[in-house]
């Protein structure tokens, strides 16, 4: 790449993205300042994956995706090829809904993929539609992402004009429309059935399960595939290079690469494309090629391994690989590829409160345990922080948590308890409620003394106020 555009790996036109010397399957164009244009896309191998797909049968494309074990990148980590296989035969029309409603705290990769390489996403959508006989694609972008909307709208206009989208694509009988839709500010719409409700012009509230997968009953009651932006962005490379080449990256059960947004108290916070399954948290946080360690003079206290919904991890978890199974066995999840690093200056109660406040604000209100529980959790944490906590508050927090997420909560083996894999049981129809329990239980288990000292001494542990915008 041109060394002039990178300062310590950062690229001026893609703030946050760090270009290092690891494999680049989906972020290869980010170094170009015009990476979002059709001209650049075509000059760098664009739409060759689509052409390769069109030269084979739809079933062969599906087989390729299945063989590559492409794990969904939205949070649940479900294999896309298997999810695709849930479409009931013959119940046409089928739809594709692209989940670009990225809003999990700490997460941002889909936004970069949409802003920096919209054609790659569009090509991924086309490959999926071709493979499965999906008759229309709706590309749902988060409402607050105005630039992503601009780039996708412009790219779709270019792609329609050039014959890549719409009628008789590339001169074949393959025809599909891709329509951009956009949200209006609601985290819960990232849940796939809520996304479908929103796309039907309603309040974005999750649907009752079963059916568990919209592949059975989705948009307009029809079989629908909902895939994350990053998942689909992998398809063009995979079609050009094949599943076998794809599986040469990453581990056997988690092939390929994955984007991780690593934020917080780091020397070089950033969004990295990382080999899936083989890199460890330690390498990602301390490695020279990645975040280069905790900011000067401080040490790691705790970290969130997979977005705001994930139970928290501590220094003893650093050697776990970035792979779903071991992270799940240790009591948390890789989730949406968002890692938030907190050093020894961080007040555990305050940090937990802020994440809980998010879930309280974003609860859609459909299920009582979540609607009421998240609000109570937030209020109790707030009063503890304000020096007005009561001795019974810690048990009260755990009790409310147990009402949302009953039974043994996933905790790591470090507590001497049996590790329970995520996700926990829940009294709600979607995981938002249990997500609010994660930071509370994680911090009470580990830093109960911080809660107790705030409650009994009625004064907060001094919080270091970080100078705003201090150099990172």
């Amino acid at each position: 790449m041109d060394p002039q555009v990178a300062v310590n790996g950062y690229i001026a036109h893609a703030p946050g993205y760090v270009h290092n010397d690891g494999p680049k399957l989906i972020t290869s164009r980010f170094v170009h300042d015009d990476s979002f244009t059709l001209a650049r896309y075509e000059a760098t191998g664009g739409y060759e994956g689509l052409r390769a797909a069109l030269e084979t049968t739809p079933a062969a494309v599906h087989d390729e995706v299945r063989a590559a074990t492409l794990l969904g990148r939205g949070g649940a980590g479900f294999p896309a090829g298997v999810k695709w296989g849930f479409l009931p035969p013959g119940k046409h029309p089928y739809y594709l809904v692209v989940n670009g409603d990225e809003s999990e705290p700490g997460t941002y990769k889909d936004r970069l993929l949409m802003e920096r390489d919209p054609h790659q996403l569009i090509e991924g959508c086309l490959i999926a539609c071709y493979a499965l006989g999906l008759q229309q694609c709706f590309l749902y972008v988060r409402g607050e992402m105005a630039v992503a909307q601009e780039r996708i709208a412009a790219a779709l206009n270019e792609a329609y004009e050039a014959g890549y989208v719409g009628r008789d694509i590339c001169g074949t009988d393959f025809s599909v429309d891709i329509v951009m839709a956009w949200g209006a500010g609601a985290y819960i719409v990232g849940e796939e059935t809520a996304l479908i409700e929103s796309l039907e012009g309603r309040r974005g509230m999750p649907r009752l399960k079963p059916p568990y997968f919209p592949a059975a009953v989705g948009l307009y009651g029809q079989p629908t595939i909902v895939n994350n932006v990053e998942t689909l962005a992998n398809l063009p490379w995979m079609m050009v290079n094949g599943a076998e080449a794809y599986c040469r990256y990453g581990s056997e059960s988690s092939p390929g690469t994955r984007m991780f947004a690593v934020s917080g108290h780091l020397r070089r916070p950033g969004v990295y494309e990382v080999e899936h399954g083989v890199t460890t948290f330690r390498e990602l946080i301390y490695g020279d090629n990645f975040c280069q360690g905790i900011r000067d003079g401080h040490e790691l206290k705790m970290f969130i391994p997979g977005g705001g919904s994930a139970p928290w991890f501590f220094p003893e978890h650093l050697d776990l690989p970035l792979e779903a199974r071991p992270v799940g066995a240790a009591g948390s999840m890789l989730g949406s590829g968002a890692i938030v690093i907190m050093d020894d200056t961080t007040d555990a109660v305050r940090a937990a409160w802020r994440v809980v406040k998010f879930f309280a604000r974003e609860s859609c209100g459909k299920c009582t345990p979540c609607r009421e529980g998240t609000t109570w959790l937030e209020q109790i944490l707030r009063r503890i922080l304000d020096g007005e906590g009561r001795p019974s508050d810690i048990d009260l927090l755990l009790d409310i948590g147990d009402n949302i997420s009953p039974g043994p909560y996933p905790v790591a083996a470090h507590n001497g308890q049996e590790a329970v894999p995520f996700p926990p049981r829940q009294t709600t129809i979607c995981p938002l409620g249990p997500s609010a329990v994660a930071p509370v239980v994680s911090t009470i288990r580990r830093f109960r003394h911080e809660y107790e000292s705030k409650i009994t001494r009625r004064d907060a542990i001094p919080i270091e106020v970080v100078p705003v915008g201090a150099s990172q």
Binding site: P15, G16, T56, P105, Q135, G163, G166
Partner: protein, 204 residues
């Protein structure tokens, strides 16, 4: 006001891209908000007529989504993130600075109608903490001084940021001859033609 003639035409086009008109509800509400800066009762009534929803259904749906406003807000909506990654780098302090320096409560609008300050949830720029958006356009690693300069520039309309309500400045448009064709689901019961390729031997 109700929708302008130009927006009526845009609305008809947007509706035509969805198998059911109701799916155009949120895009059309954005169009109405772009036109007026917020959602007026007249515009919501008209959008409801266009997509087949009652005024109560329209308002009930719009009220679920934070970006829709039922009263005028500032020309520039400043959303300061205080979620976890921004909290760690002074997001709350930045929010307080923003409100204090503009002389408003969080959520309030300045007397001149220029600025509204809001506390935002994670806006997906976590490594650029503390970050904010002005009319949903990003600014990262913001110090109080940076914020004050930003406000000066906005006051003088020196920045390339459209007024509140406008999101994407590029609209999707589909040439009629390129449209594959959108029909309600009940009129698309046949498997698409290309899927039939699975049933034939590929030559060669």
């Amino acid at each position: 006001m109700t929708l302008s003639p130009a927006n009526e035409a845009l609305a008809a086009e947007i509706i035509s891209w969805f198998p059911r008109p109701r799916s155009a509800l949120i895009p059309l509400l954005h169009l109405a908000q772009e036109q007026d800066g917020y959602l007026t009762d007249e515009a919501m009534r008209r959008v409801g007529e266009l997509v087949g929803a009652t005024p109560a259904e329209v308002k009930g749906t719009a009220g679920f989504y934070e970006m829709f406003r039922f009263e005028p807000v500032g020309t520039y909506m400043i959303n300061v993130c205080t979620n976890i990654s921004c909290l760690l780098w002074g997001g709350e302090e930045l929010l307080h600075h923003a409100a204090e320096s503009l002389g408003v409560e969080v959520g309030g609008t300045t007397d001149d109608g220029k600025f509204t300050v809001e506390e935002a949830e994670c806006i997906a720029a976590c490594t650029e903490a503390p970050c904010l958006q002005v009319n949903y356009r990003y600014r990262g690693r913001i110090t109080p001084d940076d914020f004050d300069r930003l406000v000066e520039d906005l006051r003088a309309d020196r920045l390339d940021i459209p007024r509140h309500g406008a999101l994407s400045r590029v609209r999707q448009s589909i040439p009629a001859e390129r449209l594959a064709g959108v029909v309600p689901p009940e009129q698309a019961r046949e498997a698409p033609v290309w899927l039939a390729r699975n049933n034939v031997e590929v030559a060669g």
